[in-house]
Structures are given as structure tokens and as C-alpha cells.
Symmetry: C2
Subunit: 153 residues, 2 copies
DNA sequence: TTGCAACATGAAGTGCACTTGAGGTCAAGG
DNA sequence: CCTTGACCTCAAGTGCACTTCATGTTGCAA
């Protein structure tokens, strides 16, 4: 039962499109060997790897960060439960962080709604130092000099 | 003191690049009149609008959704505090939702780490019906048939 | 009046994460 | 054997939210 999987099988079992799987391979996130005819054959192991990738994306990591994380897995042997656990633990903090940031945003927003001011200086919503990463984007220009006179009328 | 603002002034006061402001105008998110020489002149009002746009983006709205939200503002008169409050209230629910989804993700992840399984069937991490929107993406293909035999090994 | 930073436009480029298309090959059932 | 669906590659396209570039104009201060 060490049968290897075709790309179509991996796709239907993981729910990820074949085009995405080829892309992931090209991006060095997964790997395969080839059949005599040149078709991809995947270890079942790849399913766990794909699961990791998708969940990591949900946590807000870019493929580049995911590649880096995956590169810390042992090469040579099949990763163990402990290996995956180690990687996953890192998300925990990331999620806690994101949840906290969104919480701040919500609380600030609530007080903004309370006073109707939308004065982002007062409620700190406009200070992205602590919230920019909350949704995975990075508008550096928001860090501009002084967003401090929106308080007019 | 009803002086109108040049694009550069708006940029430095809002912290948003001039290129982005032109883009926003092109996208009908903000508007301006022109000086005799053809340069943009903004009402100070635009600062509040821009603040709304940036925060809405943080909450995870696309510019398209933001445009729709802004279109419910009264045209003709300058929006009041109550107008902005109404728009902002909608975010509150969105944020609560996002926070809840990330919380689910974290809890599921925690149990996954506990057992080291990464079996997304068991811990529901692989069921995006209730979490796909958490980070604003929409991998529809994740909804594929049965992600149900990752439990191998 | 002149000089120059700030402004204008439109087209093209960027980064991410893929998808789509064209044109051809492989493998398993009938 | 033949058909057909699954597979292959490489290039180009997509969507979002902008930025950059080339080229030319405006407006304010000295």
C-alpha cells in the first residue's frame, strides 16, 4: 500500500486544483518524482504538507514564509508528528496576535462609533504600527508623518 | 477658512500617497474639483472619507465593497457624524465575525497540536465553510468533494 | 519674470497566488 | 488497437490595489 498518487488524486483528496499543485511544486513547496512517462507521482506524505500550506495561508502567512517554515523540516526522512507539531505551534502565537489586533481595532471602532468622531488620532485606529499586519497587508505609506489633523469638523 | 486642499496636502495629512489618491478618485471613491489650471482641489471632507476607506480596508473590505458602502452616503450634503456612524456600525459585526473565526481556527489548531494529527477532518480546520472569509480570501476549490483521507500514516 | 517643486495624464509595471490556454503526450478500458 | 480523459510544458492572463514612468503643465516665491 505504498502506492503513489497522481496529481489528480492529490487534487481531489486535498481539494486543491491541479494547477495550484503544479504551482506549489514550481515554488518548491512540495515535490514529486516522475513516472516512466513523465507524469508526477506524489508520496501520500504530500497531503499533510498541503494541509499545512493551506492552514498556514489562513493564518496569514505568505507562500514565501511557508516555504521557509517547511524548509526547517528534516530532509531525508518523512516528518513526524512532532515535526508538524513544532511548526504548528508557531501559528498559535500568530493567531493570538491577530485576534488581539482585531480586538483592539474593534474596541477602538466601538468608541469611535460612540462619539461618531472617526477621529483616528484619538482612537488610535489610524496608528498602524500595531495593527497593520492584522489582515496581512502592509500599507507602509500609512506610516506617513502626521495623520493628525483629520479632527476638523 | 474653507480653503481647499491640494493633492499633496491631502497626501501628507492622510498619510496616503498621491498616486493612491488619484487611483481612488479614478475608482470613484473620492472626488475633487479642479483649479483654473486643472489641478485637483479637495474639500477637507475628503480626509474623513479617506480615513473611512483605510479603516474599512483593515476590516477586510475590498475597494468595491467600500465604494458600495460610500454610495449610501447622502449626495449633495456633507455627511454628518450620524452618517459615518451608520457606516461604521456595519464593521462591528464584520470584525466580531472575523475574530470569532480566527478563534475557532486557533482552538482547532490547539487540539491539532495536542494530538499532533493535523487531521483536518477531525478538527474541522479543513472545512472552510465557516472560516474561509477569516482572512479575506476565497479558495473555492477547497470546497472540493472529500478532504477525508489525509488521516493516512 | 523666472525657476522649480508640485501638479497633470495615460500607459505600463509590481507582487501575490494562482488560473487559463495552446499544443502535445500518456495510460487504461472497450 | 484505438479512443479518450488525464496528464505534460510553457506562456500568458487574472484580480486586487496600487506604484512607476515618461512627458508635459501649473503655481508660488524670490
Amino acid at each position: 500500500m505504498t502506492e503513489r498518487l497522481s496529481i489528480g488524486e492529490v487534487a481531489s483528496r486535498s481539494g486543491v486544483a491541479t494547477s495550484a499543485l503544479r504551482f506549489y511544486e514550481h515554488e518548491q513547496l512540495i515535490s514529486s518524482t516522475r513516472s516512466s512517462g513523465g507524469q508526477r507521482r506524489f508520496d501520500r506524505d504530500v497531503l499533510r504538507r498541503i494541509a499545512f500550506i493551506r492552514v498556514a495561508q489562513r493564518v496569514g502567512l505568505t507562500l514565501d514564509e511557508i516555504r521557509t517554515a517547511l524548509s526547517t523540516l528534516p530532509n531525508g526522512r518523512t516528518p513526524t508528528t512532532a515535526d508538524w507539531g513544532r511548526l504548528s505551534r508557531a501559528w498559535r502565537g500568530r493567531l493570538d496576535e491577530q485576534i488581539e489586533l482585531l480586538g483592539h481595532l474593534r474596541d477602538d471602532l466601538t468608541s469611535c462609533i460612540g462619539c461618531g468622531c472617526l477621529s483616528f488620532k484619538a482612537c488610535r485606529l489610524y496608528n498602524p504600527d500595531d495593527a497593520a499586519a492584522a489582515l496581512g497587508d502592509g500599507p507602509r505609506y500609512l506610516l506617513g508623518d502626521r495623520p493628525d489633523d483629520i479632527r476638523d469638523r
